[in-house]
């Protein structure tokens, strides 16, 4: 699983949950500032990724995950450790 696939998965989760256009997304896209995602929506995105990659991400690791790139890093870290 390379990083591009992971970033793509985050894009897909955002499209599905936040109803945004994939074309508008980049790794720098910020969930709250750019996509107007509330904390509940961010949790939904993370849960979608947990399901897709069969992971469990602890609550406290979500702190400071502000951008798509950061979310991809979080997932990549867990996949590497798995």
């Amino acid at each position: 699983m390379n990083r591009t696939d992971i970033v793509d998965a985050v894009y897909d989760a955002c499209v599905e949950i936040l109803k945004v256009d994939k074309a508008d997304l980049s790794e720098a896209t910020a969930f709250a500032d750019d996509l107007d995602a509330d904390s509940l929506a961010l949790v939904e995105v993370v849960m979608e990724l947990e399901e897709r990659f069969d992971l469990r991400i602890p609550e406290d690791e979500l702190e400071g995950v502000a951008t798509i790139g950061a979310a991809a890093d979080l997932v990549a870290g867990h996949l590497a450790a798995a």
């Binding site: 599905e16 509330d38 509940l40 939904e44 849960m47 979608e48 399901e51 897709r52």
Partner: protein, 271 residues
């Protein structure tokens, strides 16, 4: 997991899939814990009459739960009896999965399962203290936590928890039960704030003394005294509590959340 967005897909296709929002009661599956008798059974009947498919949760009342489900089906509704011990997380998970597979994703949850373990506080050991907390409060946590994700994804839900008039008035001999019932208010109101933007309302119904097995257990003298203390002058009926739950679950109550609705004949008025 790809989203299912075809307009004709039913909500039962995928338990947590993103389908079109359920628009009618028939698509809003209700799960009532402690549904085999008393208030729970009346709630199950009331929701079925309002058009909801109903899962009747039971712990030991299997025969009653099955009979209730059968009578709902005989009347043209959809129902199933499901074993659920709310003090056991695995049981809760298995039960909700069974409901999802048998009726569809849970959109309405009525946290009704409850026990008392009365006694003067002076002699209340830790086991007796914990019993109502584990069933009434922690059980509500387990069941709610298991279904809330689906409600969030489908952007609609109703969570109604059964508290009690004693939650706010207090009751000698019921420090544990009253504590558990009061806790449901803080819990429900917090959840109401978190989930409001997903069209999920979270409310509490606070019954007074209702004519059920749980109340009969305290003895005739005490229930007589209770009835006299109630401004309306009698015990309540399970159907009267069920009517409040049915109201809160309906579209008409979409603007009601974090409410504590007393059905107590005025016993607790002033809170």
């Amino acid at each position: 997991m790809s989203p299912d967005t075809t307009p004709t897909a039913s909500a039962a296709d995928t338990a947590e899939g993103r389908t079109a929002p359920a628009d009618t009661a028939a698509e809003r599956v209700a799960l009532v814990s402690g549904g085999s008798r008393g208030i729970g059974a009346a709630v199950a009947r009331g929701l079925a009459a309002a058009g909801h498919p109903v899962a009747v949760g039971y712990r030991s009342g299997e025969a009653d739960a099955r009979a209730l489900a059968a009578s709902i089906e005989a009347g043209g509704g959809r129902a199933l009896a499901v074993a659920v011990d709310v003090t056991d997380a695995e049981s809760v998970d298995a039960a909700v999965t069974a409901v999802e597979e048998g009726l569809g994703p849970v959109s309405v949850l009525v946290n009704n399962a409850g026990v008392t373990a009365d006694g003067l506080f002076l002699r209340m050991d830790e086991a007796r203290w914990r019993a109502p907390l584990d069933t009434n409060l922690d059980g509500t946590y387990r069941l709610t936590h298991r279904v809330v994700r689906g409600m969030v994804r489908r952007r609609w839900g109703r969570i109604v928890s059964l508290s009690s008039v004693v939650a706010l008035t207090g009751s000698a001999g019921q420090a544990n039960y009253a504590a558990a019932k009061a806790a449901l208010v803080g819990f429900s109101r917090s959840l109401a704030r978190e989930l409001a933007e997903r069209s999920i309302t979270v409310n509490v119904v606070a019954p007074g003394p209702i004519a059920t097995d749980m109340l009969a257990a305290v003895g005739e003298d005490r229930t007589g005294a209770l009835a006299d203390a109630v401004p309306v002058g009698r015990l309540g009926r399970p159907e009267e509590v069920a009517a409040a739950v049915t109201y809160l679950v309906g579209d008409g109550a979409a603007y009601v959340t974090g409410a504590v609705l007393p059905v107590d004949g005025g016993l607790g008025l002033g809170h």
